[in-house]
Amino acid sequence: MSVSDVVKADHLTPGAYGAVGGDPVRIARVTCDVVQVMARKGRAADVAAALLASHEVVLPGPGAAAEGRGMTALWVQPEGWFVVAPRAGDGVLAGALKASCGDAGSVVDQSHGRSVIRISGSRAAWVLAKSCRVDLHPSVFGPGRVASTQLFHLGVTLRQVDAVPSYDLMVFSTFVTSFIEALCQAAEETGYVVA
């Protein structure tokens, strides 16, 4: 691969792209902290109690997200969650969570390891369905729902944010450039706007 082939669409440049006249989707990067919390063997209840106390969150079960104080917890694996919150200082969120869980949980900062892209608009589900094998139909999916799955050959944790619908797509940071390119290409048919 030569240098020139590596496009850095990473910086979504503001503008309108793709087909015009329809109802374009909006694509944007979301800046946030992401911390992975995993309960140690047999300590899930302790982690749950600790986070309820410290962050007022009821840790969600499979396929769900739950809001807490200034943060959202996403179920990602049995007894494992991603805690997402607006960006604070390095290690602040991870530190707070670790302080809260103590030895009941493993806390791993992924704020730099995961990137979040938001796609929003009446045709957002249609754009995602070009690759998303999880059923996003309102009858089975909706705001507050989470699915880890594959999009454009990449592992993605997808969370529906609202009924617009808007989706937050959490991907591995080293793939985010490639991911954005693929997502934008998929959105050309409906047109997309980068604010």
Binding site: P62, G63, V76, Q77, P78, R133, V134, A147, S148, T149, Q150, G155, V156
Partner: protein, 107 residues
């Protein structure tokens, strides 16, 4: 398309998973000797019928699932977490198609 009903994530396509083979073989104790480890690594029943196998939900919950799947019909009978026991249907499934090339249409 094999669809696997992950106990955590729900029904998902096979592409989200990595296959890891026969789930009935058990790793022997470290001192069990070469024969036992040979069997663990190389000896397979490879049944034509129900097969209990590992599928790793790589793009989902990252759990190894124990799947009971039929090797002719690809029907998935049960999906369980790694530590759980699974029921394996006793008889050959009725949906086994007529042997290939009997000359009647069958997939």
């Amino acid at each position: 398309m094999i669809r696997i009903d992950c106990p955590s994530c729900g029904g998902r396509d096979e592409v989200e998973f990595a296959y890891r083979g026969d789930a009935t073989v058990v790793r022997p104790a470290g001192d069990a000797g070469e024969e036992a480890f040979h069997d663990f690594v190389y000896r397979r029943a490879n049944p034509r019928g129900w097969h209990v196998e590992w599928w790793y939900h790589q793009a989902g919950c990252r759990q190894f699932l124990k799947v009971v799947r039929h090797t002719m019909t690809h029907e998935v009978h049960a999906v369980a977490r790694a530590g759980d026991r699974v029921e394996v249907p006793a008889a050959e499934h009725t949906g086994v198609p007529a042997a290939e090339h009997k000359g009647v249409p069958a997939a």
